[in-house]
């Protein structure tokens, strides 16, 4: 036993051979305990993300241009992840794009009562951007079996009077019905510099 015990033999603590006082022996034992962890922060987004969030309030999506490659990164971070150089130019990208990858979730997540399974999480690349980001794809008559890589989608924004400095202004993306985009071969970072598929 001890340190050298055969790992294929369950220790008593796991096999249930733990004796307890008689007074407790016939009661339903505690088998689990909830131990929530919660951390409350105040986040400040910094200069580049602040510009992005303020553009969001105007229903615009903006990105940074890499000074070496011309690649466009959304959201802007102030630095190009491919060249490592500080970015100086910010451009608007479209609020339409294509699905590069997706997943259909059929199991509810505790604490996310706003999500109603089954729902589609997708990696959406806006036209004019070399990067995608995670987004919900939905629509009144969306057939889950119809969701596919290359599907064209456009952003569905909150009503104008509810817009804030927030990426949550885009409620979800919905299919446009246009012909599918030709999805370029994936690279680890970024897509071709012509602004992605069209």
């Amino acid at each position: 036993m001890g340190y050298n015990q055969d790992p294929s033999v369950p220790p008593a603590a796991l096999s249930g051979a733990v004796s307890i006082p008689d007074a407790l022996a016939d009661l339903e034992p505690v088998r689990s305990v909830t131990t929530p962890l919660r951390m409350e922060y105040t986040a400040t987004p910094g200069a580049s993300l602040s510009k992005y969030l303020r553009a969001m309030k105007e229903k615009r999506i903006i990105g940074d241009v890499c000074p070496d490659t011309g690649m466009v990164f959304v959201p802007p971070r102030g630095v190009s992840p491919v060249s490592g150089k500080r970015t100086t130019e910010t451009v608007d990208v479209a609020d339409e794009g294509y699905i590069e990858s997706f997943n259909i979730t059929r199991i509810p997540i505790k604490g996310r009562d706003d999500l109603h399974p089954p729902y589609v999480s997708a990696w959406v690349v806006p036209d004019g951007s070399n990067t995608g980001s995670i987004a919900l794809v939905a629509g009144d008559d969306l057939d889950l079996d119809d969701v596919r890589i290359g599907m064209r989608v456009k952003a569905v924004w909150k009503p104008d009077d509810e817009l804030e400095e927030s990426a949550a202004n885009i409620l979800h993306w919905e299919p446009t019905g246009e012909p599918d985009a030709e999805v370029p071969d994936m690279m680890r970072i970024g897509r071709p510099t012509d602004g992605g598929a069209q």
């Binding site: 006082p21 407790l24 009661l27 909830t34 409350e40």
Partner: protein
């Protein structure tokens, strides 16, 4: 366009549910029934709260026994300005309490009005919650010993 700094609340929350196993589960079952249990080690000493393995020998724990509901403060620290997520809203003492019948102390709160009421070696007893679920918070806190059962 405003140049004010943007700020937003950001909450990270992990709603874990853990399975307890028979040792920790036995201890929590005891709490639910307002009974304190300790783990008997191979040398005859008793750990409270219990661990699943003896820290000295790595032997699995196989026996939980009832211990006392009062004990001695072995060390303490005054929390004069409790933060929002600490377990008590009023000032309290974090304390290590070695219960009668146990050889190791456990961490919990001592509910007294100010630090002058605290001292190392003082006797305290458990104050149970009315509604218990099998959780360490079934102990509302420790209070100076009166002799009456909590």
């Amino acid at each position: 366009m405003s140049d004010d700094v943007l700020r937003a609340p950001l909450v990270l929350e992990y709603p874990f549910t853990r399975t307890t196993g028979p040792v920790i589960g036995g201890f929590l079952t005891g709490l639910r029934e307002a009974m304190m249990l300790g783990a008997k080690r191979s040398d005859g000493t008793v750990m409270c709260p219990p661990l699943e393995y003896d820290p000295l020998t790595a032997e699995p724990i196989t026996e939980l026994i009832e211990i006392g509901q009062a004990g001695e403060v072995t060390t303490w620290s005054w929390a004069g300005d409790p933060r929002p997520q600490q377990p008590f809203e009023q000032p309290f003492a974090w304390a290590m309490v070695k219960l009668d019948g146990a050889d190791t102390p456990m961490l919990h709160g001592v509910l007294v009005d100010d630090a002058d009421a605290m001292s190392t070696g003082m006797r305290v007893q458990i104050q149970w919650r009315e509604e218990r679920t099998g959780h360490i918070a079934d102990i509302a806190g420790f209070v100076p010993e009166t002799g009456d059962a909590g």
